[in-house]
Amino acid sequence: MNCKKCQKLLYEYIDEALPPRTRASFEEHVQGCHECRQQLLREQDFSGSTSELLHRRTESLRLRQDSQRGLLDALQSGASPRIRQYGWRPLLRPAVVLVTAACFAIVAAVALRGHKPASPKPSPTAPPLRGPESFLVCTATIYADEAKTDWIERRMIVETRNGREGQLRIVARKNPKPDQTNQKEEEQS
């Protein structure tokens, strides 16, 4: 047994509430540990002194002479105790539970009634939108120089219906061959 365990079992040892084996282990530890022995002695002495002083403090108290008569009178008259054991307090706990439940119900009802499904916001990882119906506004043409190349290129800033902004790049060959793809479209977010 270590000191921590010994201190934890101090009251049980004094109360003689420990099983014989634990008690023997406790005593063995206390024999060898000065600190725990002092603590046990301190507790036993404090207990003895406190008990003695408190009994001394109250030994002069006597019940009122009319105590017994008062008790019999109260029993015969059916009077209730002067200090009531039960008042409105036993009703307090159910009342608190009911009020709390009512508050939750009201808040839930208001929240459900005023609830509108939120419009889906585009997430940053969403795939790029494709198709002509996705584009709402073309705000500017930012590049249109195809004089030195065989390609025609257009870049535009566009805004989708959900308020998302991006660039549209259109590239086409000036003299397309019949077997080649003549137009590419891509969107850059």
């Binding site: 002194s49 003695e52 009994h55 108290l61 105590s67 109260a74 200090i83």
Partner: protein, 190 residues
């Protein structure tokens, strides 16, 4: 009349049983509740109410605990209600100081002063801490009994005792020697 006979007589409404109950347990309860509430007049009222409630509900006592333990449970409930009612008011100790002074034992005046200081310090503890100190050191109850009475765990009782003792250590002057091995015995018994 033993305890079982006393309970049976109480259940049958015998007036002699009331007298027995008051004589046997009245003062014991009074002294304990005086330490709990710190006021003699209120302590007298609390004891009378305890006995009144006990006599009226004697049918509900089935002998699963000692009669005193059952009475003490009623007393504790009433005392807690008393404390709730008097929350925020200061209890004054009205045990006449004259009584202490008039005792023909001048050699014990030192012990009387120590007893007064200790009872005063206990009154300054919180109700939960005061209860465990009185149950443990005045009533001599075991940890398990206190836990059963105040409806908590033995661990909580030990914790309350630890903190209550630590608080008393702060409140009680060191010259009282209450917290040293030997305690007051060393000082008063040369």
């Amino acid at each position: 009349m033993n305890e079982a006979e006393l309970v049976a007589a109480l259940k049958s409404g015998n007036h002699l049983a009331v007298e027995q109950l008051v004589n046997r347990y009245g003062e014991r309860l009074l002294r304990s509740v005086y330490l709990l509430c710190g006021n003699e007049t209120d302590a007298q009222d609390l004891v009378q109410d305890t006995l009144l409630v006990a006599i009226r509900s004697a049918q509900r006592f089935h002998g699963r605990s000692a009669l005193y333990t059952w009475l003490y449970g009623i007393l504790l409930n009433l005392t807690r209600h008393y404390h709730r009612k008097r929350k925020g008011t200061i209890c004054s100790d009205n045990l006449p100081q004259q009584k202490l002074a008039e005792r023909p034992r001048p050699e014990h005046a030192d012990m009387d002063r120590a007893a007064f200081i200790l009872a005063d310090a206990i009154q300054r503890l919180s109700p939960a801490h005061r209860e465990v100190i009185i149950f443990r050191y005045y009533e001599g109850m075991k940890i398990a009994e206190i836990a059963s009475l105040v409806r908590t765990t033995p661990g909580t009782v030990k914790s309350r005792l630890h903190y209550a003792t630590r608080r008393l250590r702060e409140l009680i002057p060191k010259e009282l020697n209450l917290f040293r091995p030997g305690g007051t015995h060393k000082r008063t018994k040369p």
